[in-house]
């Protein structure tokens, strides 16, 4: 299909501001009378606050006050409180905030505050608390219980509670040693098909343990907010990756009517899942400002970002995979214990979902358990569950394929989802899949057939490895609102409540509206980022969700505009709306184009006609956020507004396939990625440069997960050892290939009006999988069974020092 805008590169309106410094982030805003707040973190991993003495701090001239848990609604476990008191559960957990006339004074005040703590036992390894007699991270237990409708009083996490699960010493010992923990209790289980019968039909069966270690998000813009109150309204400059979808939640945190919140967030310095929705410290910013009756800026440090900036959940697990003679996956059995940190639910079921769609096993069983530890709270991080499973699964799949005598790529293509692909426990359908075609395209780009025959030995110390891997994430939803205004001068304002998390999707999605309206992009204004700019209720931005979901809502708003344009023209020139067409930013009679008017003239008519044409009336099914926005624009032009009620069925799969070639130095344990090639299976490519950004950036994240990034906690005192960037450690220019070769499969999804699906998370999953596959290939198929694979692990393996990969140790060194 030939498009005007879809599939064409464009310059997003915010990019110039980013290269000139004009783009403003939350910390860049100032307000007269603004004061600076700082947080005091817990020095202990578990306990309770006995007393706080802030008298010396408050005596410092210019120190304005403190804010503690007593200033907030109670938040018993498993809520992640903004400020802790009774349940201190990790080092660095915020205990209080102090505000002063300057940031230096605030920091000086922190040093004068004396907090008395009562200690409790703590634990940093999920299997330690799972063992009978082991310490619990909370006084009342060690695991998340989902009991919808029975939430503990005062909890913010509806339908959850803290429970206790223990395994016998033998069960934990078996699990640590890489065997199935027979008879052990799990919190989450599902299966389909006759697993035992399908395994019996398999000629190749492998069993492997695996460990993935959590890692912090470390968004480069550390969490920042600046809030002030005027005439009962809270104006909040924040840093979220979504925008309007978080409006009601932030209002609730501040206990105000949503109509009295103006959230401003034009640019966000990274989120990666950690800023999808408002996070706890935002309650402190807004409420402290109200308490002091002064504008308050609360910005956290890089180290605090490690503690409260969220992190990926780690996994300790066991898997059994069966292949039939022809290489098809007959059965899979997988058991996962997630490290949920001091808060979070784990993502084991999503991990299993990755297996179910990428390899379409005939039968499968999943068992999962999320254990709390006294480590930093966990949350969504780029493809939670799926991507860490992609990482450890790839070398195991390679092993199974090699044992079965099937080429690794051919095996993946054979098992890849087709249009009739199934997913997860219920074996539901998917919106579309052209994954076999994507595999073929990527294999050709990488030249797999030629490279797999290359010698592994490069020199006396260097060996070559080539790898392949897949990524997946559900990538779309529906039911959100689109909103467009055509001004009397003909300017087309494309309103979106999508956040600006750095992918340019906020601009990409509204091009679906420009496409439908057949208008010049230069005549469009993208309206976003400020609550006073009348934004619609748009989707949350996480899970590769935006592109599919919001091209739909943009499209339906454009359809509403077009229908109104035709009705206005019919009222002016006679006939029925169906007698009219659009083109060249005019609406005209199809049989006589001289009978027509420009979009701007139609907008003037819309104002005169009133009613639905100028926003005086609006659909009953749009969200109250959208209603407020429409009401604010009544009578200012032609208003197009609609909720996405287009048909949708099945999961919307975002998928990707990657290939990796490395040169590994056996003397240093380091490797260079000399070729990275990846293809996105994400439907129609809407914005080619944006897609490359997503695929390349996801690739970098994959390399980080494979080789560098991890939590490290000292088990003796619960202290994290890597709170800084250089320790944690995100990849730099020197850790990644000098060129990256990525593309899109560009085959349309039938459930999107422009054929698009999302790709953000699979971009990482395919990369980590391909790199893990390449590392194993370079070392003659050796499985480390864990991520990251660090240089010391490689050296120890090469030196035959017996690195213990069977012991499922996580978080510790």
């Amino acid at each position: 299909m030939t498009y005007m805008h879809i599939g064409k590169d464009f310059t997003p309106p915010d990019v110039e501001g980013k290269v000139t410094g004009a783009a403003r982030y939350a910390e860049d805003f100032k307000k007269d009378g603004m004061v600076f707040a700082r947080l005091l973190g817990s020095p202990i991993p578990a306990g309770r606050v006995v007393s706080i003495d802030a008298s010396a701090a408050l005596a410092i001239p210019g120190v304005l006050g403190i804010f503690t848990a007593d200033d907030l609604p109670p938040a018993p476990p498993p809520s992640n409180p903004a400020l802790a008191k009774e349940w201190v559960t990790y080092i660095g957990q915020p205990i209080l905030a102090v505000a002063a006339e300057s940031d230096h004074l605030a920091e000086e005040a922190l040093s004068k505050i004396v907090v008395e703590y009562q200690r409790r036992p703590f634990v940093v390894d999920p299997l330690d608390t799972l063992t009978e007699g082991g310490p619990d991270p909370y006084p009342n237990g060690n695991t998340l219980i989902r009991n919808a409708g029975e939430a503990a009083a005062g909890t913010t996490a509806s339908g959850t509670d803290v429970g206790r699960v223990k395994w016998s010493i033998d069960q934990v010992a078996a699990f640590r040693a890489g065997r199935e923990p027979v008879g052990a209790q799990f919190g989450d289980e599902w299966s389909y098909g006759d697993v035992a019968a399908r395994f019996a039909e398999c000629s190749t069966v492998i069993e492997e343990p695996f460990v993935t270690i959590g890692q912090p998000h470390h968004s480069l813009e550390s969490r920042t907010g600046m809030a002030y109150w005027e005439n009962g309204k809270c104006y909040f400059h924040g840093s979220l990756q979504s925008h309007t979808v978080g409006h009601d939640a932030l209002s609730a945190m501040l206990e105000i009517d949503p109509a009295n919140l103006v959230f401003i967030n034009e640019n966000t310095g990274g989120g990666f899942g950690s800023k999808i929705f408002p996070y706890p410290m935002m309650a402190v910013t807004g409420r402290f400002a109200r308490k002091l009756n002064r504008p308050v800026q609360l910005r956290i440090t890089r180290a605090e970002e490690f503690y409260i900036g969220s992190a990926r959940s780690g996994m300790q697990g066991w898997i059994k995979i069966g292949l039939k003679d022809d290489g098809r996956v007959g059965a899979v059995d997988v058991a996962i214990v997630n490290d949920a940190g001091s808060g979070g639910g784990g993502s084991a079921s999503s991990s299993a979902e990755h297996i179910s769609i990428m390899f379409q096993p005939e039968a499968m069983r999943f068992r999962g358990l999320a254990m709390y530890t006294n480590t930093t709270p966990r949350g969504a991080q780029r493809g939670p569950g799926q991507n860490e499973m992609a990482a450890v699964l790839a070398p195991m799949i390679d092993k199974a394929a090699n044992l079965a005598g099937v080429d690794r790529v051919a095996m993946r293509r054979l098992n890849a989802p087709r249009m009739d692909g199934k997913i997860g426990a219920r074996q539901g359908g998917i919106s579309s899949s052209y994954m076999p075609e994507a595999i073929d395209k990527a294999a050709q780009m990488f030249n797999w057939d030629q490279k797999r025959s290359l010698p592994r030995e490069i020199s006396a110390t260097k060996v070559r490895g080539i790898g392949v891997g897949q990524g997946f994430h559900t990538a779309g939803s529906n039911g959100y609102d689109g909103l467009i205004r055509i001004a009397p001068d003909g300017t087309i304002y494309l309103h979106t409540g999508v956040g600006n998390l750095g992918t340019y999707s906020y601009a990409g999605v509204v091009r679906a509206a420009a496409e439908a309206l057949q208008c010049d992009w230069d005549n469009c204004v993208v309206v976003h980022g400020h609550g006073d700019l009348n934004l619609p209720h748009s989707t949350y931005q996480g899970g590769s969700n935006t592109m599919f979901t919001e091209t739909r809502s943009s499209h339906v708003a454009a359809l509403d505009v077009i229908q109104k344009l035709k009705e206005i023209a019919a009222a002016e020139f006679g006939g029925a709306a169906d007698d009219y067409s659009i083109g060249g930013e005019r609406v005209f009679r199809t049989s006589d184009s001289s009978k027509g008017m420009s979009y701007g003239e139609a907008a003037q008519k819309a104002i005169a006609m009133g009613g639905k044409y100028s926003g005086m009336e609006y659909p009953d099914d749009i969200h109250r956020t959208t209603v407020r926005s429409v009401q604010a624009m009544q009578g200012t032009g032609l208003i197009g507004v609609a909720k996405d009620t287009l048909p949708r069925s099945g999961a919307v799969p975002g998928m990707a396939i990657a290939f990796c070639e490395i040169e590994l130095d056996k003397e240093t344990g380091k490797f260079d990625i000399v070729d990275y090639t990846a293809v996105a299976e994400c439907g129609t490519v809407v914005h080619p440069k944006g897609l490359r950004q997503a695929m390349n950036g996801g690739g970098i994240w994959g390399f980080g997960m494979a080789g560098f990034e991890r939590h490290v906690y000292d088990p003796q005192n619960g202290l994290p050892a890597n709170v800084g960037l250089y320790q944690s450690k995100p990849p730099t220019y020197l850790d990644v290939p000098v060129h990256m070769n990525t593309a899109g499969n560009d085959m349309p999804d039938p459930q999107s009006p422009v054929g698009a699906r999302g790709i953000g998370e699979p971009a990482q999953g395919c990369a980590v999988a391909a790199l893990m596959s390449a590392i194993a290939d370079a070392l003659d198929g050796h499985l480390f069974n864990r991520t990251p694979v660090t240089a010391d692990m490689i050296i120890n393996h090469v030196a035959q020092n017996g690195f213990n990969t069977g012991n499922l140790k996580t978080n510790t060194f």
Binding site: V19, G724, V736
Partner: protein, 141 residues
């Protein structure tokens, strides 16, 4: 302007001069988001005392445009290559690229990678920044 002895250049630029294009990603010399030029050399403003640059020519990202408002070639190239992602590190990337091209107007991609390696991009837009450097140096059409 009154500058305290312990005041960092990043603090002075951001909070006293209002030049907020210079970002603080780590405030401890790890990320490079605060990179500025001092006598054409790229430095971390978070780890430089303001008094250290007394009588030196300090240029921030806001000072790169020509007098007529034309963007610096690095800025224009970064737009063309869609180099920024979230953009928080971008000012630092721009300044390191400007410093590189002053010292080495036609770097190889590998040289550019080494020169830019003090600037972390958590979004992982390295390939796009390198494309921008190569375009700004006239080696990419």
């Amino acid at each position: 302007m009154d500058v305290a002895p312990q005041e960092t250049l990043a603090h002075t630029l951001r909070y006293k001069l209002g030049l907020t294009g210079t970002k603080l990603g780590c405030n401890r010399g790890e990320c490079g988001a605060c990179t500025v030029l001092a006598d054409d050399v790229n430095i971390y403003a978070c780890s430089t005392l303001t008094h250290e640059v007394k009588n030196r020519a300090v240029v921030t990202v806001e000072g790169l445009r020509a007098a007529d408002g034309t963007l610096h070639p690095v800025q224009a190239a970064f737009i063309e290559e869609l180099s920024p992602a979230c953009g928080f590190c971008t000012a630092g990337q721009v300044m390191s690229a400007v410093a590189l091209l002053k010292a080495n107007p036609r770097p190889t991609r590998e040289e550019a990678r080494l020169a830019m390696s003090g600037n972390v991009c958590r979004c992982g837009a390295y390939d796009h920044y390198l494309n921008g450097v190569m375009r700004a140096s006239g080696q990419l059409s």
